[in-house]
Subunit: 407 residues, 2 copies
């Protein structure tokens, strides 16, 4: 007997038929003698519809009202899944964030889970009742509904698994696991049986859309065993686990990429103390995240060029903010460039292996790909390249690190 | 300064534009210096959509899950109205049933309100904040959402007005008041300035769809001054008030009708004690309401004919239940007839006036309308007639009781 948390995303519960299919997956775990709690997202398209209603009512609306409205998506899907389970003879009931409660902070729209009261749920799970829990939502100290932000249902599932001390948290998605690279780009990509929390975290933040970054952070912190698998195929997926569980660690586990990158070069900015703060301060104040940063060593000690990246959606705003401050900052010109992508190699094995970066640079160079910006961490190396090289770069690196599947 | 509860139905909040229009009506009351709580229904069509989802998931579904799903309609409309008010500079927030809480019993799908905690709402109203309250929903002692049944938002509004000791409960609908008869049938129908609770109750239960019966019962019991008015016209509506408030009481206030009637005649049923219970017991067990009943005096003391009415939707089921028991009941035959309507004259003035029934029977007779069944109460007389006479009967009675507008 195991205690399992399952999570199904919006596509998996996108219609009455699909919700029935999900109920079948839940029932299969119940029939194996397991205790099951299920976290569901809103039916595909429903959250967008509700967000659209809010935006047409008022572009600048109260985040508390927004949360109350948008959380109805999960309220509907949990009720329908509970009905589907009951219809199959499986005892089940739905749980909304405020009913458990899932306690959050008051940052409406992107709240963090503070605590989940586990006692009542554990008692009912032990009685053989499936708990169908609304993802993405919780209750603030002021008794109002808060949502966790897009993709928050993954975080709900991991937090629930931690609170229930579940043996496993199965995240069902439209892919059947974590691959060494995007299979749409690299035909020789392989599904990984296991990946470490750290690697998954880098993959999530570097563009692999399998799991929400926050959910991986939480899983790592709470040591929740997560499995990513497909709600359609039924095949075993990828386990996201502690490093200790992986006996033979590859040097590089996967190649990730992100198209959501844009580069800004600030030409001839005065090379004086505090200039970085002066450039990046206004961006931070407007919640624009700056990712990769390169500053050239200035030749004469007076002016230098700075290059950094932001998401494409933030590019125009970032340029505008800096142009507004041109005279104060004293730079000569800005060169924006949205025609770039970020390609990353990731692996905890890098820590103990030399030459990983060299192999990356060689592989790219051999394919005539110019590296514009580099950034590294303990377990990843990212480079910025022109967008046209995306597929070529990912494939070349996949081969260079020996990740291609046999045959 | 007055404290006012306003209620807007689904048509009034059927689109973003209409919700803005409602916000304007609310703001007008606020600008007059009044404290305002607003009860809203789901956007028109939304409840049907949600009910449809439940029915396609499982024809026999858990009423608790149904309530959790269907209550989201009001959760969305309250949030949107609060946003619209805020956008106009009016402080406002939405309140869901569980947040206030609106305490109900556990009869999911048609729950009754037990209590509404007024303190927090009253404090905020006094601070100038508009309370936008989700109609149709409450919280059971087991911490689950319960809905009040179709049209329950009227009841929510009246109960809230009672709990807040409001000066008035304005029910905005798609008609601009209560008329002496359906204006679509009687061109000379007049809008009533005032109508008594008792009359409104009879009108509601006799087919006038202006207010839900339960809401009128509650208003009468709690002495809540209700005004029925149009959310589109802005004209004063009809007040539903205590009899004392109406100085010059007409004998008859209005003519109501219902097409949702069907007649069953049981031929030659043994005239023995307990036969009525034997006939009507099985119907009651299956929640079929029997309305008008006539039993002929038997000539020989052995067999008699019984006639009674049910709603058209229950006709086939009622006939089936009785046919199943034909040998036990010992009747000769059943004659079902769905081609009937009920026409009623209503007025508290009847209590103190003789000859009201005689005038009704004369007017119908003069127009060649045969009366099939009669039933009376202290303040109404109802007759069953063939459906083809509906308009003629209503118009004839409207004229006979002097209700036609001048000119």
């Amino acid at each position: 007997m195991a205690r399992i948390v399952q999570k199904f995303g919006g596509t998996s519960v996108g219609s009455i038929e699909r919700i029935r299919h999900v109920a079948g997956r839940v029932k299969a775990e119940v029939d194996r003698g397991n205790e099951v709690a299920v976290v569901v997202s809103a039916m595909a398209g429903e959250t967008d519809r509700l967000v659209g209603l809010c935006q047409s009512m008022a572009p600048f609306h109260d985040a508390r009202e927004f949360d109350s409205i948008v959380s109805t998506g999960e309220q509907v899907s949990t009720g329908l899944l509970a009905m589907a389970l009951q219809d199959m003879g499986v005892p089940a009931r739905s749980w909304l964030g405020w009913q458990i409660p899932v306690e959050t902070d008051e940052v409406h729209g992107r709240a963090r889970i503070v605590a989940i009261a586990p006692d009542e749920l554990r008692r009912r799970l032990a009685d053989g009742e499936v708990a169908v829990v609304a993802g993405f939502q919780g209750l603030t100290p002021r008794n109002r509904i808060a949502t966790l932000g897009r993709g928050g249902s993954d975080t709900s599932a991991v937090a629930l698994a931690a609170a229930l001390a579940a043996d496993r948290c199965d995240i069902y998605t439209d892919v059947d696991g974590v691959y060494t690279a995007d299979p749409r780009i690299v035909r020789a990509a392989r599904k990984l049986a296991k990946v470490t929390y750290e690697e998954m975290l880098e993959m999530a933040s570097l563009g692999a859309k399998v799991l929400q970054t926050r959910s991986v952070e939480l899983a790592m912190k709470q040591r929740v065993r997560v499995q990513v698998l497909s709600s359609f195929s039924g095949a075993p997926g990828t386990y996201v686990v502690d490093e200790d569980e992986i006996v033979e660690q590859e040097i590089v586990s996967g190649i990730a990429y992100s198209r959501d990158e844009a580069k800004i070069t600030v030409l001839e900015v005065p090379d004086r103390p505090g200039i970085a703060a002066a450039v990046f301060g206004p961006l931070a104040d407007h919640e624009i995240n700056v990712d990769m940063i390169v500053q050239n060593v200035s030749e004469d000690g007076r002016a230098t060029d700075m290059t950094f990246t932001v998401t494409r959606g933030d590019l125009d705003r970032a340029v505008g903010l800096l142009e507004d401050r041109r005279s104060a900052l004293g730079f000569r010109a800005l060169v924006p460039d949205a025609d770039v992508v970020k390609v990353s190699v990731i692996g905890v094995g890098m820590r103990s292996h030399a030459g990983v970066a060299k192999r990356m640079f060689s592989a790219l160079s051999e394919n005539g790909i110019n590296i514009q910006v580099i950034s590294t961490s303990e377990i990843k190396i990212s480079v910025l390249v022109a967008e046209k090289y995306l597929e070529l770069a990912v494939r070349a690196l996949h081969t260079a690190y020996g990740l291609d599947a046999d045959g």
